[in-house]
Symmetry: C2
Subunit: 195 residues, 2 copies
DNA sequence: CGCCTTCATGTCAGGCGCTGCCATCACTAG
DNA sequence: CTAGTGATGGCAGCGCCTGACATGAAGGCG
């Protein structure tokens, strides 16, 4: 017999997602979520720095996946090749079984501006971390930031498609990244004809 | 003799920036800002949807500058060429005289996570609008979103450098965009050797 | 076995952000 | 002169979030 049920944060997250999905984010108070799992509002805020975080906590693992992918890239790889490796690694973080859960979560986010704001912020934070890892590999500026932000952009677009189409995130990410290279190639021919 | 002083929102914004810069964002209440210009908290929230917005309202003009730049691009221009045109147009929105003001404002934002969140959100919103304009020109997906987000990324990086270095934003943006093309070119040679 | 420490939780008070509702009151149109 | 318009004030109230202190079960230790 344990003192307290373990996994308090997880139970709060589960309850929160259910309430948000059924009643809406703004219509659900932090106190209600806490009550749902037999806790108080004060305890809710001990586990999450603010109400929105209950939907986002846990993304450190995704960041780690990116970093692992970066570490797995060969030393001579160019910045965007490293990013491609990071994307492959990150993609494995979202196996297809996870799609249903991700869909409900995303539908909640899509219906609330404040949550979208937090989501974009997390993506940007991710990009910042990736940029730092690239710099640690010797990539200069603005190349590091540029490559990192591009990686985050590609990931974001691929993820959105992954929610809709029944294809693997890895495939989609590779495809979107390829599309970015095509865009750049086309523009390169026009914008700098003398190289 | 007018009924009320005109430019209420502007005076609130000015007072807010000063208070935020001297006392910090969180240490300044909306009521204090309002009081500073002889108004009440209630009126503050009639002009700004939330406390953070007092620092961000007015960005519609920047978005418009982007759209103008898009409209100015020739019909046959590739997506990233159109974005380049948008960046040139947007750059004129920040003449060098504006740098001091932008610096104070940015220093406030840099010291507060919630404000950074809003800033990133505005950039993403900008990208969404640009993507829509590109789609209206016939650009497909994911090319439109990709090009738009890349444009926002380039703008963000260039803007950061513009705050530090005494160079024109237009030059910096062109430079950063060029760097992105270089990155893509290098990666393209490695990631798709068979084209 | 009994004491003590640890620590997740509860309780309470309170500040701030933000909103709805109604009143005010200068000015304006007719 | 009267009715309408529109920015503002005043006020009540809810939800978010925090600091301070109390509680009580588990575990360590003599």
């Amino acid at each position: 017999m344990v003192r307290w049920e373990p996994g308090t944060a997880e139970r709060l997250q589960k309850a929160a997602l259910e309430l948000f999905a059924t009643h809406g984010y703004e219509q659900t108070t932090a106190a209600e979520i806490a009550q749902e799992v037999g806790l108080t509002e004060r305890t809710f805020f001990r586990h999450f720095s603010d109400k929105r975080e209950v939907l986002f906590q846990g993304q450190e693992l995704l960041v780690q996946a990116f970093l692992d992918g970066i570490a797995a890239a060969p030393p001579e790889a160019s910045p965007l090749e490293v990013v491609a490796s990071a994307l492959r690694s990150a993609a494995s973080f979202f196996p297809d079984e996870r799609r249903p859960h991700s869909r409900t979560r995303q539908s909640v986010i899509d219906r609330n501006p404040a949550l979208q704001e937090r989501e974009h912020h997390k993506l940007t934070t991710l990009a910042t971390t990736v940029a730092e890892a690239l710099r640690a590999r010797g990539v200069g500026e603005p190349a590091a930031t540029l490559a990192a932000e591009s990686g985050a952009t590609v990931f974001g677009i691929a993820f959105t498609r992954w929610l809709r189409e029944e294809r693997s995130l890895a495939d989609l990410a590779a495809e979107v990244l390829d599309e970015l290279l095509t865009l750049a190639e086309t523009a390169g021919q026009a914008l700098r004809p003398t190289r």
